[in-house]
Structure formats: structure tokens, C-alpha cells
């Protein structure tokens, strides 16, 4: 009997193992870029497979059928990934032509393009995206609208409605992040705001405010990109600044509290940030410079402490002029390898190895970095599929 149980257990374990292996094989892993190409070339989303040590190999260019603008706001992420059971989709915004293209990850084929309202316009600085399992939100930086799209089967979308949003100083909507029923947005003028999205369409939580860093600097610094912790306790803001500045707001009450500013160095600009999957590190891009920083983050207290900084990333000035968005090799721990978009006529993807232990960290660009992104002349947005779970 005991033997039988053991045998049965072994068989079960083998079954689970096989199932897991099958599931793993069924979930492809990609790094992808919104190439944001202008009307003078073919706009596309490029998929890269991830090899040993996080190396990237160009796998497929998926033409979007639309056009981008080869630039725009740093904080507006033009990619959104959905990994909900059997639904595996990538959505990419097309800044110039205005649509949101859906790509089925299983086939790497475009399913369709969905448009917002007639007034939605992101052709000046892009269309930012944020997603949960039911809705995709698109921030149109030109019309100051956030469009709500309902996720449809097979990577489709259907437009629901617009809300008009504008910063306290007249700023344009820029970065967005979602956790649970809360969405937080930045406005590029020092102001930030949260929304309740429990019913789909964003409803203001009545907490629009100017950030502490913006006020202290006379609006020379202002929140641009935004991240939220997995539990929705904190919103973290990467600031456009003449230095490296990150702000954290406690939103556990359902409303943004006054932000706490963290000065993390002299590097110019910190417009793009990303939390590690284990929430111990916050990666901060020196957007107008050539380095990546990591700060230690305490997800319990919301406090940041300085961590480490990379060396000068290869190709600065000669190949690219700005650093853009971030993604990670894995959805566990520190993410292992950080990928950073390099904006330039020879756009690329920097690959930086992360180590972190005992309160120390290192960021080391890999020997094979950067990977070329030949289909983009101005890469800003990058993502990993499957996406981080929060």
C-alpha cells in the first residue's frame, strides 16, 4: 500500500513535472520593442528571444500597419502585455496614426487595430499604455485624454470612452501605472493624480496634487514615469529633473499622499524607472545621460536608499542620445538582466547584469551589449513577455 502510494505519488509528480514543462514550453519568452517608426519606414514591434545570460536574438519584426513618431515623452510606455490564462497579447500604440494594435503572442500576428475617439491624439508625444485583465488604458499626450478600451477575446479591444485629464499647471498626461482598482498618472507639470478604475472608466480619486519635488524645485523637476508596488501601497515616480530624483507616495488610503523625494545623484534626468520583481531594487534610468542606477527599495516602508550605478553604457553620443524604457530578463528576484532602450539613429537595447546581496549591488553591462534594434530610429519603449505579475 505504502509502495502503491509512493508509486502513485511518483506518477503524479511526473505528471505535474510534464505539465509544468509543457506550460513552460507553451509560454514563449520575448523582449519586445515598439519601434515607433515614422511614416518614412515600416512601423513595427520587434520580438527578441532571450538566450543564455540574457542575450537577445532578433526573432521577428511584426509590422503594425500604422506609423509612429520616432520619439516623444519618456514616461509614456507604448507597450502593454497581457498574460491572462490562455490569453497572451501584446498591445502597441501607434503615435502618428493613433491606433492600438493587438498582437497575438502565440502567432506573432497582428489581430487588429483599435482606435479611440475622434479627438484622441498622441501624435505630438506618443500614446502611453497601461493594462489589467479587463481594460487597457491609453494616455493620448496631445489631446489630454485617457481612453478606456475593453479587452476582447483573441487580443482584440473595444473602445469604451474617454476622460479628459489635465495637470494643475496645464500639463499633458504622461506616465500611467495600475495596481488593483487604482491607476496613477503623471502630467509633466509637477502634478500627479490617482483614479478609481473599478468600473472600468477612470474616476478621479480627488487627489490631484503637485509633487513635493516639483514644489521644492520650483517645477524644475516633475514626475514623469510611475510604478506601483504589488500590494498597491506605494506609487513611485521617476522625475524629469536636472539631477536624479525619485518620489514616493503612500496610496494605501486610496488617495495619493504627499510625496517623499529622494535625491539619488547628479546624473541628469531620471524619467524612467522600474521595480524589480522582488521589489528590493528600483532601477532608475539616467535618461539624458549614459548610466543606469539601482536604489534599494523597502516595500514595507516605501523608503529608498542609494544602491549602485552602472558604468557609461556603450555607444552614448556615437549611436544614441537618450536612454528610454526598461524591462527585465525574468519575473523573479532582481530580474537578473535589465534591458534599457537606447534612443538614437542606431537604436539598441543595453543589457546590464544585476547582482544584489547583503545590501550591495552591481550593474554591469554585458560584453554583448547592446543588441541592435534595426527597425527603430528612436526607441523609447521596451517590454518583456510574459510581463511582471504586477
Amino acid at each position: 500500500m505504502q509502495m502503491s502510494i509512493m508509486r502513485r505519488g511518483s506518477q503524479w509528480a511526473l505528471f505535474v513535472c510534464l505539465l509544468t514543462s509543457f506550460a513552460a514550453a507553451a509560454t514563449p519568452q520575448y523582449v519586445l520593442t515598439n519601434d515607433d517608426a515614422s511614416v518614412f519606414s515600416i512601423d513595427s514591434v520587434t520580438f527578441y528571444t532571450i538566450g543564455t545570460g540574457g542575450t537577445l536574438e532578433l526573432y521577428k519584426q511584426v509590422s503594425t500597419g500604422g506609423a509612429g513618431i520616432a520619439g516623444g515623452f519618456f514616461g509614456a510606455n507604448r507597450l502593454a502585455m497581457l498574460n491572462n490564462g490562455g490569453t497572451q497579447c501584446v498591445y502597441a500604440s501607434l503615435a502618428f496614426t493613433g491606433g492600438i494594435v493587438g498582437i497575438d503572442v502565440s502567432t506573432l500576428e497582428v489581430v487588429g487595430t483599435t482606435y479611440g475617439s475622434a479627438t484622441d491624439n498622441g501624435s505630438s508625444n506618443g500614446i502611453g499604455l497601461a493594462i489589467n485583465n479587463q481594460y487597457l488604458y491609453a494616455s493620448y499626450t496631445g489631446s489630454n485624454t485617457i481612453a478606456t478600451f475593453q479587452v476582447q477575446p483573441e487580443c482584440g479591444l473595444s473602445f469604451v470612452s474617454d476622460v479628459t485629464v489635465i495637470g494643475l499647471q496645464g500639463g499633458f498626461v504622461d506616465g500611467m501605472a495600475i495596481s488593483g482598482n487604482t491607476m496613477v498618472a503623471t502630467f509633466g507639470d509637477g502634478s500627479i493624480q490617482s483614479f478609481n478604475i473599478s468600473s472600468g472608466t477612470p474616476v478621479s480619486n480627488g487627489d490631484m496634487q503637485n509633487s513635493t519635488g516639483a514644489i521644492a524645485s520650483g517645477y524644475a523637476s516633475y514626475p514623469t514615469s510611475v510604478e506601483m508596488t504589488q500590494d498597491g501601497h506605494y506609487a513611485i515616480f521617476g522625475d524629469t529633473s536636472t539631477s536624479t530624483l525619485v518620489e514616493v507616495s503612500d496610496i494605501s488610503s486610496g488617495k495619493l499622499k504627499k510625496t517623499v523625494s529622494y535625491s539619488l545623484g547628479n546624473g541628469i534626468n531620471s524619467s524612467n524607472i522600474l521595480l524589480s520583481p522582488d521589489e528590493t531594487l528600483l532601477y532608475v534610468v539616467n535618461t539624458q545621460g549614459d548610466t543606469l542606477s539601482a536604489a534599494f527599495f523597502n516595500a514595507t516602508t516605501g523608503k529608498l536608499t542609494p544602491g549602485c550605478i552602472s558604468g557609461s553604457l556603450k555607444g552614448y553620443v556615437s549611436d544614441w542620445s537618450y536612454l528610454g524604457g526598461l524591462s527585465l530578463q525574468t519575473n523573479t528576484g532582481t530580474g537578473n538582466v535589465v534591458y534599457v532602450a537606447e534612443f538614437g539613429t542606431a537604436s539598441g537595447i543595453a543589457m546590464i547584469n544585476v547582482t544584489s546581496a547583503n545590501g550591495q549591488c552591481t550593474l554591469l553591462e554585458t560584453a554583448g551589449s547592446p543588441a541592435s534594434d534595426p527597425y527603430s530610429t528612436g526607441l523609447l519603449s521596451i517590454g518583456t513577455f510574459p510581463p511582471r505579475t504586477f
Partner: protein, 555 residues
């Protein structure tokens, strides 16, 4: 500033084209044909201590879509563009400016508040627009108040009778090359891009630097024009309005006799081009005897093969022609303005040809002495179509018995030390961009017409300013009303304590100490009491707010 997105370019270029088609007639005089002999701008001279002239600011779009703005000077014999104003120390310039700009390009460049300051206005007042104008007399050490070199409250609007400036050149004004250009905050680059700039010479250089006595003189104004001035990209440099060849194209031709020495007075009136100037014979840079910088004669001349002239800077130097015909060029070398700066690429500016015929003998000559006007002449006479003028062995004006302004600044004791810094940030690749110049300890903010002065000092003060560059592109510091003494670069004493009114501060690499200059400011002259500005003279930066006020209180 780095790239802007393509469609903005298309949109704005289309707007320019629309504007072009809206314009019925060309207002500005025709500019020289490329590849022809280089002429100096016509000069007009003060007479009996006064230069009385009237300019009209015109506007037109030429066939390739370049927008021209022009200072037109008209007499009974015709209309010329941007003549050189020549005065002696102690003279008075009475300059009437009328604004005849019509159908200027659309002003969609920026959402900045360009309103005039509340309170007293000067001239026509009203709201500054792309069609408004005024004049800054760059480098002159004169009053900043209404009627004089005031850019903060003076506005001239289209259709008004105009405005008369009364500029009293100090008796101890250094002889040298100055210049005039529009300075309406938010729109300066448009008009300068279109060519609205001209030279102003305070005569008497030979009284201070006898090396130039008897030499043939050239006034060379380098301008820069973008198709759309706020879209970085390809641009044209012009030399006295003649297009400079980028590669193999026709270049302006400078005529010199074999071995002849000439005195060249070069003005960088570009929007943002840093010009490391050279004269090359057979590809070899020649020694240039530097006489003056920014209109201030050097304490001692020195030989250099390259003279860096930042935007708005001037260099005056002696050039010796090659003994025999060969490949000879006036060139600008490539200059790196940093990761986010515009590339300033090297190119020839003019070709130098030898001629045994005196170059200026082919054409009418400009007398170095003040030209006497006909009694019934409403305007000072102009000398047109001149290639050069000669500096007479006899001074054109009485030798200045006074020591030059600022000549004792080196030994003055500073009363105050200040630190300022340039910084900038981009919210995206297409902007929003913020350009700041900040007094250390104050908040970074862009210029606002209603702001309080960032610095308040008083007549009698001598201040040492350290100016850092914390941005990833080179900036170009300029202060109105005074020259400053160069003391240090990057914390080290400079080899040459020149007096400047404009100085480049190289870009920060992203790590290490910030590049800096330390300069000595002289606020002792009560003439300059009032409110004026300091700013980056990359004109886009100035227009977008990299500027602040300084108030000099009377004693």
C-alpha cells in the same frame, strides 16, 4: 538641443510654406549671388558727433523657403540691408526703427508666457509677437533704460510710427566691433535667423592697437539660417549674406594682394554656431594676429592659428595673404557642443584669391574719416558696394585721452562672489525642454517677464562670478551693458585675462566637476544703473527662458 520628431518638422515646414504663399511681395533686398566677390556691408558714419539713421525691419521669404528679416536703410540712392554703423567714442547714435513685418510665420513654437512685464512700457508696448521687434546694442556699455539699450520693456509693433533709440557711446568706450540685433524675448531667434543683425564699430582701434594702422579692413558678418529656426537640422552659414559653400559649391571670394596684411573684423551673428575660425593656406592653418575680442582691444596682441568665436562673439585680427596663388580658405572647424548639443560642423566660409589689382580699387572706397553729409541730405550718406575700407595712419577721431573702460578691473577688489549655473532637462525627445540659468541657492526657473531680478547689486560693485555648466551641451554666457574680465577656466587661472561680453562654457560630460569660468563683473559705471539681463546666447535657449534679470541700483 537634440532631435525633434519628423512630423513636427513636416507640420511646421508646411506652415512656413503656407506663409510663403501668403506673402505677396518680397520686402528684403536681394542677397548676393553665391560664388561672387565678398563685399563689406555699406557703412554709415557719425558726423559731428551724431549718427542719425532710420531703419525699417522688413520680412520676406525667398524661393527656397528661407525666411528673411532685414534692417533696411533707405536713402535717395537706394535701399541697403544691415549697414555697418560707425561712431567714435563720445558720439550719439540716433536710430529710428520702424516695424514693417507683415505676415510673419506662425508662432506655435512654445507655450511659454511671452507677455511683457506689468508696469511701465517703452515704445509701442503691447504683447510681444513674432511680428514685434526691438534692438539690442550688443556689447555697448550704455544705459539699459528706455530709449537706450532696453530689451525688457521696449517693443516696436508693426504699423506704428516707430521708435527712436538714443545711444550715447561713452567717451571711454573701447574701440572695436559691436553689433545690433532684435531681442524680443521668445522671438529673437526668428529675426536673427532671418538675417536681422548688423555690425557697429566704435572707431579708433589704431589709437590703441597701432598694428592695424594703414591696413585694409574687412567687416565679416557670419550669419546662420535654418529653414525653420527652432527645428535643429541642416543650416546654411552666410558670410555678409552670401551663402558659404558646404562642400564643393561656390564660395564667397575674398580678394587680397600677394603678401598683403588685412585687418579682419569678424562677427559671429549666428543663432548657435560655435566657430573655431582659421585661415588655411594649402590646408595649413595660418598664424592670425589677434587684436581684439568682443570689441575690446587685447592688452597685447597674440598669434593664434584658431580663434574660437562663440555665438555673438567677435574677433578682430590681422591676416597676411599668401605670397602666391594656391588653395586658401577662411574656414570654421568642427566644434563639439556635447551629447545634446547641435553638431557644429566644419566648413569653408570663403575662398581667398590673390589679385594684383587692389581689391578695393575696383569698387568705390569707404573713407576712413567721417563722411560729411550734404546739407540737404536727410540721412547720413552710405558707401555701397565696397569690399574694404582702409584704416588711415591718421586717426579718424581724436585719440582718446581717457583710459579705456574696464582697464583697471584686473586690480579692482571684488565686493561680492556669486555662483551661477546652466542646466537643462528634457521631458521627452521632443520636449518639453527646460533651459535654466540659475543663481546658486535659488530655484531653477525659466525667465518670466514679471520676475524679480535674480541678482540685485548697486553701482560701484565689482563682483566675481563663477558660472558652471551642468548641462550636456555647451552654453554661451552673455551679459548686457558690461564687459567682464576672464579670470579662471575650470578653476585654473586663464593665460589671457581678456575682456569679453560673451563666453562659451563647454558641456558637462556627465561625471566629474562641472566645467566653469570665473569672471569679474564691473558695475561701477552709474550709466548702467537699471534692470537688464544675462542669458545664454544660443538664441533658442534664450527664447525658451535661459535668461534672468539683474538690477543695478544707483548709488
Amino acid at each position: 538641443m537634440s532631435r525633434l520628431r519628423f512630423f513636427v518638422f513636416i507640420f511646421r515646414a508646411a506652415a512656413v510654406v503656407v506663409t510663403l504663399t501668403c506673402l505677396a511681395a518680397s520686402q528684403c533686398p536681394n542677397r548676393p549671388v553665391p560664388g561672387t566677390v565678398l563685399y563689406d556691408a555699406p557703412s554709415i558714419y557719425s558726423q559731428n558727433g551724431t549718427l542719425n539713421a532710420a531703419f525699417t525691419m522688413g520680412h520676406s521669404v525667398e524661393s527656397f523657403g528661407y525666411t528673411h528679416y532685414c534692417y533696411k536703410y533707405t536713402t535717395s540712392t537706394g535701399t541697403v540691408e544691415a549697414p555697418t554703423l560707425r561712431l567714435n567714442p563720445g558720439d550719439t547714435l540716433l536710430l529710428n526703427i520702424t516695424d514693417d513685418i507683415t505676415n510673419g510665420p506662425p508662432q506655435s513654437k512654445t507655450a511659454m508666457d511671452m507677455s511683457m512685464p506689468s508696469g511701465p512700457t517703452c515704445g509701442d508696448g503691447g504683447t510681444p509677437t513674432i511680428n514685434s521687434t526691438n534692438v539690442h546694442f550688443h556689447g555697448l556699455n550704455v544705459s539699459p533704460n528706455c530709449g537706450s539699450d532696453d530689451v525688457l520693456t521696449t517693443l516696436i509693433q508693426p504699423g506704428s510710427p516707430g521708435f527712436q533709440y538714443t545711444i550715447k557711446i561713452p567717451a571711454d568706450e573701447p574701440p572695436g566691433l559691436y553689433w545690433y540685433h532684435p531681442h524680443v524675448h521668445g522671438f529673437t531667434e526668428f529675426q536673427v535667423n532671418g538675417g536681422a543683425a548688423g555690425a557697429l564699430i566704435v572707431e579708433g582701434m589704431q589709437n590703441v592697437r597701432p598694428e592695424v594702422t594703414g591696413l585694409t579692413e574687412r567687416v565679416i558678418t557670419i550669419r546662420q539660417q535654418f529653414l525653420v529656426p527652432w527645428v535643429p537640422g541642416p543650416y546654411q552659414l552666410t558670410v555678409n549674406f552670401e551663402n558659404a559653400a558646404v562642400a564643393e559649391g561656390p564660395a564667397p571670394t575674398i580678394l587680397m594682394k600677394p603678401g598683403e596684411k588685412q585687418f579682419w573684423r569678424v562677427l559671429n551673428a549666428s543663432l548657435q554656431d560655435f566657430i573655431p575660425i582659421q585661415v588655411q593656406y594649402g590646408g595649413v592653418p595660418q598664424e592670425l594676429e589677434l587684436i581684439a575680442l568682443d570689441g575690446y582691444p587685447l592688452a597685447q596682441t597674440r598669434n593664434q592659428t584658431t580663434i574660437l568665436i562663440p555665438p555673438a562673439g567677435r574677433a578682430e585680427f590681422i591676416v597676411e595673404a599668401p605670397p602666391q596663388e594656391g588653395t586658401a580658405f577662411l574656414v570654421t572647424e568642427t566644434y563639439s557642443t556635447g551629447p545634446t548639443g547641435n553638431p557644429d560642423t566644419g566648413q569653408p566660409l570663403a575662398t581667398i584669391k590673390l589679385s594684383n589689382v587692389t581689391s578695393d580699387a575696383k569698387l568705390s572706397k569707404v573713407s576712413p574719416t567721417p563722411v560729411k553729409a550734404a546739407t540737404n541730405e536727410a540721412h547720413p550718406p552710405i558707401a555701397t558696394k565696397t569690399t574694404t575700407a582702409k584704416i588711415d595712419a591718421k586717426p579718424p577721431a581724436p585719440a582718446n585721452a581717457l583710459p579705456l573702460k574696464f582697464s583697471d578691473l584686473k586690480n579692482a577688489t571684488p565686493t561680492t562672489q556669486r555662483k551661477l549655473y546652466f542646466s537643462e532637462e528634457f521631458g521627452g525627445t521632443n520636449g518639453p525642454i527646460q533651459f535654466y540659468i540659475t543663481v546658486d541657492g535659488q530655484k531653477q526657473q525659466v525667465f518670466n517677464a514679471n520676475e524679480k531680478p535674480a541678482i540685485t547689486t548697486k553701482v560701484g560693485a565689482v563682483e566675481d562670478w563663477t558660472i558652471e555648466n551642468r548641462a550636456l551641451e555647451t552654453h554661451d554666457f552673455h551679459i548686457h551693458q558690461i564687459h567682464f574680465l576672464m579670470l579662471e577656466q575650470n578653476g585654473q587661472p586663464v593665460a589671457n585675462q581678456d575682456l569679453r561680453d560673451t563666453i562659451e562654457i563647454p558641456y558637462w560630460s556627465g561625471s566629474g566637476p562641472y566645467p566653469s569660468v570665473k569672471v569679474r563683473m564691473d558695475f561701477r559705471d552709474p550709466t548702467i544703473a537699471g534692470i537688464f539681463v544675462f542669458h545664454c546666447h544660443i538664441l533658442l535657449h534664450e527664447d525658451l527662458g535661459m535668461m534672468h534679470k539683474i538690477q543695478v541700483l544707483p548709488q
